[in-house]
Assembly symmetry: C2
Homo-oligomer: 225 residues x 2
């Protein structure tokens, strides 16, 4: 007989779901809306965050967790705007929740209105990992082509909002906003869809208003529960 | 006592390496250069293949295996140019060798000079999977930013060539070709680097000449061995 009993076949997925739910609930109680930004590499996650933080001009308490395989290039860009922690995955293709939790612990311990998580640039793997966010936002740039939602369906199906970026490049690329909207809605009918150009500063105010409204909604839900 | 013995701890990685080596050697003997194209989603793998096949005007016998999570959109674009097989990963983030082998078996059984594998759009996971290619080519579009090699080092370290795409968009985006070259060479000093614009048809002849030279080199190596 074995000296100790080892439980196998433990439902790791259930453990992960519970941990993500707990992180989300804790942030809700603290009044922090957690936003997980996902996209292909170079779709403009860091640029959108720069524009968001510049638009708010410190009206809200914000912190950022930035995921990357290597380097802290994105974190360096964001530190002038808000407390930012680099999460280096060391080659892994997505941010896992434990890394997010560790990064969160390293942030200054002041109340936060918004916590942004900039995921690793990857339109596939981050779709399968709940980071305890309230809002998953997928970015697609006009230069990537308007056929992406159907080709990478899980990312769009699991997202709450789609932000089409680099609208300023529309005159130079074969991209139809109506097409990408139609394609995305086929995958996820309730997707909130916005368009922005960080270069031309269009759509930023609407995007920020959307985030504020979602936070307000979260606070109301907390009061009712 | 168990009725049969099951060998565990088998070195699956070694098995995979052997299978990839075997596939590569078989293609070498058949005179087929296998080219694995990798990049972020929307960097222009399919467009580069369209331009390549149009440039060659059936001078060479070519076939294409196209990987996608879902849909056969890219395969539809390429079928007018060459025998093309869709490989649907069903959500997986990279092409595995067995899927490539199955797709290869479905191709018309005629001699091939070039076999292109268009991988899933993902700058992370395909870096870890040898598909039996002779040449791994990573594409970076000018719209993605010139900071990508350092941020996604494994993909550049394991590639033989870098093709910078969408050169026509250079006037409209913050991208410095010298920067990306420098960043890429830091990761992989021997990387062959080319620039193309499919829209303006620049760099396509040089890219095709590079492929032809590499095939010639492979044939010479076969003769000497």
């Amino acid at each position: 007989m074995p000296a100790e009993t080892i439980t196998v076949n433990r439902d790791i997925d259930a453990d992960r779901r519970d941990a993500a739910k707990k992180f989300r609930e804790q942030r809700s109680r603290a009044g922090t809306l957690v936003v997980n930004l996902v996209s292909s590499p170079g779709a403009g996650k860091t640029s959108l965050l720069e524009a968001t933080l510049a638009h708010w001009k410190q009206r809200w308490n914000v912190a950022v967790l930035v995921g990357d395989l290597a380097t802290d290039r994105d974190a360096q860009r964001l530190r002038p705007f808000a407390p930012t922690e680099q999460l280096t995955t060391g080659g892994a293709c997505h941010l896992p929740l434990p890394l997010v939790e560790q990064g969160f612990q390293r942030l200054p311990s002041c109340p936060l209105d918004f916590l942004f998580i900039e995921n690793v640039g990857n339109l596939v793997c981050p779709a399968s990992h709940d980071l305890g966010e309230h809002l998953r936002v997928v970015l697609v740039s006009t230069t990537e082509g308007d056929d992406k939602p159907g080709k990478y369906p899980k990312m769009f199906r699991t997202s709450d909002a789609l932000v089409v970026t680099k609208l300023d490049l529309l005159p130079y690329v074969p991209f139809d906003v109506d097409c990408v909207v139609q394609d995305a809605r086929k995958v996820q009918a309730n997707l909130e869809i916005m368009t922005v150009s960080v270069t031309q500063q269009t759509g930023i105010a609407a995007w920020c208003a959307f985030l504020e409204k979602r936070r307000e909604h979260m606070l109301q839900e907390m009061q009712q529960s």
